[in-house]
């Protein structure tokens, strides 16, 4: 039914991961950086699911489940932080957040 092997999925996952990494590096908007992190997590999940199918093991799915849970927690806390930062500084440009430097 499914003649596609694991490799195309891994390549796609790699492309998506690199796009996410690029987003983290290039965008200065904290929310967009966050969304890029989500993109990277998703591409890792895709690789896990592809390998799970390749090996016929459900453990990969279980790890994806954990990743999703942790991502949900991370998004909730991260967005709350962003809201607070925005309240304090009226900006979510991550270049402005330098008070922890040095």
């Amino acid at each position: 039914m499914n003649p596609i092997g694991v490799e195309p999925y891994i390549v796609l996952s790699m492309v998506l991961f690199l796009l996410g990494a690029l987003g983290v590096l290039m965008r200065r908007n904290a929310i967009l950086v966050f969304m890029s992190v989500e993109l990277m997590l998703n591409s890792a999940n895709l690789a896990l699911v592809a390998f799970a199918r390749e090996w016929g093991q459900v453990n990969g799915h279980v790890f994806v489940f954990f990743v999703m849970t942790v991502a949900a927690a991370e998004v909730a806390v991260g967005l709350a932080l962003i809201v607070n930062i925005f309240r304090e500084r009226q900006s979510i440009n991550i270049d402005d957040l330098q008070q922890m430097q040095g």
């Binding site: 499914n2 092997g5 690199l18 908007n29 989500e38 998703n42 849970t69 991370e74 440009n93």
Partner: protein, 462 residues
């Protein structure tokens, strides 16, 4: 299928790229939702329907709604990427990213084109071996050891070993082929690539190895489940029969019971005897003119025969009866659970010669593995093998919940700021102002200052 994958992955990459380049954060979030939807579709193509649904509900649903909510709450739709002083970082990052892509993706892609693909998961079959040879007789056989061997339980140390050799490649021997112990609890099926096999069965008493006693050609078709039953046929010889098991789900509210007769000299019927559980025979009297009330479920199964039926959920008193109406074995208060698939193999127990033979209905309830990626299979692994991590993740979610509540208190920041300012003021305030605050008098104005310090104004007053 390829074009479907290519289309979906193209849309996914395109959506990700659009997400990165949009200036409006709301547009970015919407493109990210498209990307997540594509990934959910790919999960479906990868036989992970449960994860696909979780992806849609958790990611494209909950998480992205949270993002959109925050973007719109902050009014941060068009926050531009100002400054430009870190622009070189982005350029360097894209350079490194493209380099990595070339380094890693090219070998994979070239492998993909060059090598022939391994059999995908769907083209797998499941195989198990049921040893239904009476243990007392198995001692007579010589021994062979090929692949796995599993001792029979009890006093007899004879093994039935099984090995499967790929018929197309005689030199390659496949390890890990299923075996099963007739006497005791069951190992499930072992997954194998679909294809043609030659199965070699031998008997092993643990001390030496002999040649094969039985060879059988076997074709495993995709998505099938096969039981190899090793039993003693009517001539008293070891025989192997190949049974294709029906592992599809039974009808709603029913269980499927399969009976295999491995008793050499009997035809076996399965009957529901109702309240008459203690009878040694179905006959009502010694001349057997009439029978006790019963309900026939499976009739007259010859040695080596197999029959299935579906039982309504409930409790039964089952009996295995031979052609002379003798009860060989009773299963009193047999619980039929809905959805269960069970194979019962009727075997003769090893006994003292001359004494009355006893029989046993060995249970092989292993029903193969649940469909790959189904909620059932994920749940089994999640809540059995990974119970502790599940607990820890639950704890993490609780902590995150409390943390968000603390962070999101409307005046959390303001209160903290006020507290900080107050603390500083208290430390820096001069003593006199504290006195003025407590007495209600303005100590710092002229008169009082003069009194307190005992300056020249003092004398002038007097």
């Amino acid at each position: 299928m390829e074009w479907l994958f290519l289309t979906v992955s193209f849309v996914a990459v395109l959506a990700a790229a659009m997400m990165l380049t949009r200036q409006n954060a709301v547009h970015s979030a919407l493109f990210l939702i498209v990307n997540f939807g594509c990934v959910a579709f790919l999960y479906l193509m990868l036989d992970a329907p449960f994860l696909a649904m979780v992806q849609v509900t958790v990611y494209t649903g909950a998480i992205m709604v949270l993002f959109l909510f925050v973007i719109m709450l902050l009014g941060a739709e068009t926050t531009t990427d100002s400054s430009g002083r870190m622009r070189w970082l982005g350029l360097a990052g894209s350079g490194v990213a493209i380099l990595l892509l070339l380094i890693f993706a090219f070998p994979i892609a070239s492998d993909m084109l060059a090598e022939e693909k391994p059999a995908p998961l769907d083209a797998r079959a499941q195989l198990r071996v049921i040893n239904a040879i009476p243990a007392g007789d198995a001692e007579e056989f010589t021994v062979m050891e090929m692949g796995f061997a599993m001792p029979l339980a009890g006093s007899v140390s004879a093994n039935v070993a099984l090995d499967a050799v790929d018929a197309t490649m005689p030199d390659s021997r496949i390890d890990g082929v299923a075996y099963n112990d007739a006497r005791e609890a069951i190992r499930g099926y072992t997954a194998l690539d679909a294809g043609e096999y030659t199965v070699i069965v031998g008997v092993d008493d643990g001390s030496y190895v002999s040649g094969p006693i039985f060879t059988k050609d076997l074709v495993l078709s995709p998505d099938s489940a096969v039981s190899l039953v090793v039993y003693e046929n009517e001539q008293g010889l070891v025989d192997v029969t190949v049974l294709t098991d029906d592992i599809s789900a039974p009808a709603v509210g029913k269980m499927r019971l399969t009976l295999f007769n491995a008793v050499t000299d009997r035809q076996v019927s399965l009957v529901d005897v109702g309240q008459y559980t203690a009878r040694r025979s179905l006959c009502d009297d010694s001349s057997c003119n009439s029978l006790i009330p019963h309900r026939k479920l499976i009739e007259q199964l010859p040695a080596g025969g197999r029959a299935s039926l579906e039982l309504e959920e409930g409790s039964y008193n089952l009996a295995f009866v031979d052609q002379n109406q003798n009860v060989l074995r009773t299963l009193a208060e047999y619980q039929a659970d809905r959805g269960r698939i069970e194979t019962r193999v009727l075997v003769r127990e090893p006994g003292v010669p001359g004494s009355q033979a006893s029989y046993r209905a060995a249970v092989f309830s292993a029903i193969g593995v649940p469909a790959f990626g189904s909620p059932e299979s994920v749940g089994q692994v999640l809540f059995i093998e990974y119970l502790l991590p599940v607990m820890l993740v639950g704890m993490l979610l609780l902590v995150a919940l409390i943390g968000v509540i603390v962070l999101a208190r409307p005046d959390a920041l303001a209160q903290a700021e006020r507290r900080r300012i107050n603390r500083r003021r208290r430390v820096n305030r001069p003593l006199v102002s504290v006195i003025s605050q407590q007495t209600g008098a303005d100590v710092l104005s002229g008169d009082y200052r003069a009194k307190l310090t005992g300056g020249p104004d003092n004398g002038a007053d007097q």
